[in-house]
Subunit: 156 residues, 3 copies
Amino acid sequence: MAKSIEQRVRELEDRDEIKELTARYCWHVARGESEAVANLFTDDGVLDVTNADFKPVRGREALLKFYRASVREPEAALPFIQNHVIELSGDDARGTCAIEARFARNGESVTAAGYYEDKYRRERGRWRFAERKLFFHHVVPLKQGWAEAKGRSRKA
Amino acid sequence: MAKSIEQRVRELEDRDEIKELTARYCWHVARGESEAVANLFTDDGVLDVTNADFKPVRGREALLKFYRASVREPEAALPFIQNHVIELSGDDARGTCAIEARFARNGESVTAAGYYEDKYRRERGRWRFAERKLFFHHVVPLKQGWAEAKGRSRKA
Amino acid sequence: MAKSIEQRVRELEDRDEIKELTARYCWHVARGESEAVANLFTDDGVLDVTNADFKPVRGREALLKFYRASVREPEAALPFIQNHVIELSGDDARGTCAIEARFARNGESVTAAGYYEDKYRRERGRWRFAERKLFFHHVVPLKQGWAEAKGRSRKA
């Protein structure tokens, strides 16, 4: 059955809002605003950084604790999101987007590239992250480059 | 009061046009097309590069003069825009977007990251920049990297 | 004549789908999925890399052959698309978008920036690439940088 104009407009709005959700995540990370980052997730939201020795972080309290510890300082991490693909299904959605990032770690300039596999859900009237799985292609010192780091995005 | 479909479609179109406005800015800068860049501003448009020793540039004539002096050569500056967040309010809007840029300066490769705080206004039928405030996180030689340059985005 | 709401919604959907088309191209390239890349083109699609010693690749069979030879390995090329501008004209469209890319070549980290001039066409119900012309500003070893490579985007 053909979608109504109302539904098509709603879907366009949803897609815009989901893109802005990923943009807001970047903004708050760049500013060191840990609580604002955690609040972009659903109450049962999950973060998984797949190719580090990383235990998935589940639920608002754990996310708040995690981001308070890891997003403390402005400009320590500068993420940039591109190549966004979104599939809507009512109040749920899935998407993938690429990330490039600049980190400053122990006085060293670090460059990274990777991608997110995201699940989004509309909760309390707003689109939020139900799950973010982050796969890094590489996270390497700028002086070293990425050529030798290939293949890190496959989960062990 | 719920928005009409007409209004919702208009807002979606506005958001698309504003995103393209920031894309066009990048295109014309990359091509060294100074007048085209200046013409993306409203007649009373303002450019402020906040963390340089920079006096805000106000109004079309001053913008034309500024961009003629600073955007002269193709490929001297390659800006890339991401992470766009836009808030509409009728014929006005505000937004933020992240920028990564590659500069060639005196034979040196320079890399930059920062963000814009923008005000947009519909003027003569098109969305234009009423104000661009550019905050750089860093503008550094590629060989040096950004780790030591942190904190430059806070206005003095 | 003013466009109908139906037409305006369709155009917004078209623009979203075209942006996702360029995103999907990046995803499949990053994953080394050559057939999926080739299938994003129309049956008579053309790829032209303008500033290499490159003969344009025309048509599905030639595209499949080309991408099978050049997109073989995951993470050998990581493209990121930004600054997208699209002009629709019914079932045809034109657009430009900027590209940054990270390559790994013979153990060396290579960084690139450039832009696409694209033609899109709706074929068998989906937007596809009718033509991609890729212009590189530079494709250089990360250790070397781009300052000396300026001017490479002008077609000889």
